[in-house]
């Protein structure tokens, strides 16, 4: 059982380039999330999704777009990368209802923008 898988694990981009980060989960979770983690700032929510075909903005959505065309996949896009987007990006998923289920996290994508 792979859980939450993020690709790629590392990437270096030049300012202005675009790229897409892929998150795939095999737990049939309804909810999925994208976070960024910067030193000393904890994790901040970028975008999230409560189901296939639906997305919503989180705390820091500017400069990012997302899509959830299939339940198991949640894509994060950077249309024109900026140095301020250098960060570690984590994807998470969760069962979509009440109860005691935590969010499950992927291993992260380390992204550097030069």
């Amino acid at each position: 059982n792979a859980g939450v898988t993020q690709t790629p694990k590392f990437r270096v981009l030049k300012t202005g380039q675009s790229m897409t980060l892929l998150c795939a989960q095999d737990m049939n979770h309804e909810y999925m999330y994208w976070y960024r983690q910067d030193p000393g700032m904890g994790l901040r929510l970028i975008h999230y999704s409560v189901g296939e075909g639906t997305t919503a903005k989180g705390e820091v959505p500017d400069g990012y777009n997302v899509s959830r065309l299939k339940k198991q996949n949640f894509l994060l896009g950077l249309e024109s990368a900026a140095p301020s987007q250098t960060s570690v990006y984590f994807c998470a998923s969760r069962y979509g209802g009440e109860g005691n289920q935590p969010q499950h996290f992927g291993d992260g994508t380390r992204l550097s923008i030069l």
Binding site: Y31, G40, G42, L45, V50, F90, Q103, F105
Partner: protein
């Protein structure tokens, strides 16, 4: 907007000692999660606290939640080196999608 404050931000403690990490949050939340992160790694769920007065224990770690005081604590008993990591608390936002707001984390270093 939910704000989360953890303290201390950094904690160096000797093996065998006890200590408590505090997590204060600014608005009503009935659920709170604690996660552990090792350097360069993902986040691992430690505890899910679902109601006021909830207490959970696993090994040398015990977490509690006081929703009226908007406070959660993570107590470490007789620390060992393997507990060295960064610990995050994350209260759940009221509303849909079970969104979490993370604290800045407490970096714990356990020394011999």
């Amino acid at each position: 907007e939910l704000k989360v404050e953890q303290n201390p931000l950094f904690l160096s403690m000797q093996e065998g000692k006890n200590y408590t990490i505090y997590c204060n949050y600014s608005t009503t939340s009935d659920r709170l999660y604690w996660y552990r992160q090792d350097p360069g790694k993902s986040l691992e769920s430690l505890f899910v606290l679902l109601s006021n007065g909830a207490v959970k224990q696993e090994g040398r770690l015990m977490a509690s939640l006081d929703t009226k005081a908007r406070l959660s604590t993570l107590h470490i008993t007789a620390a060992v080196h393997d507990l060295s990591a960064t610990y995050f608390c994350a209260p759940e936002d009221a509303g849909t999608a079970s969104k979490l707001t993370f604290g800045t984390g407490t970096r714990l270093q356990v020394t011999l």
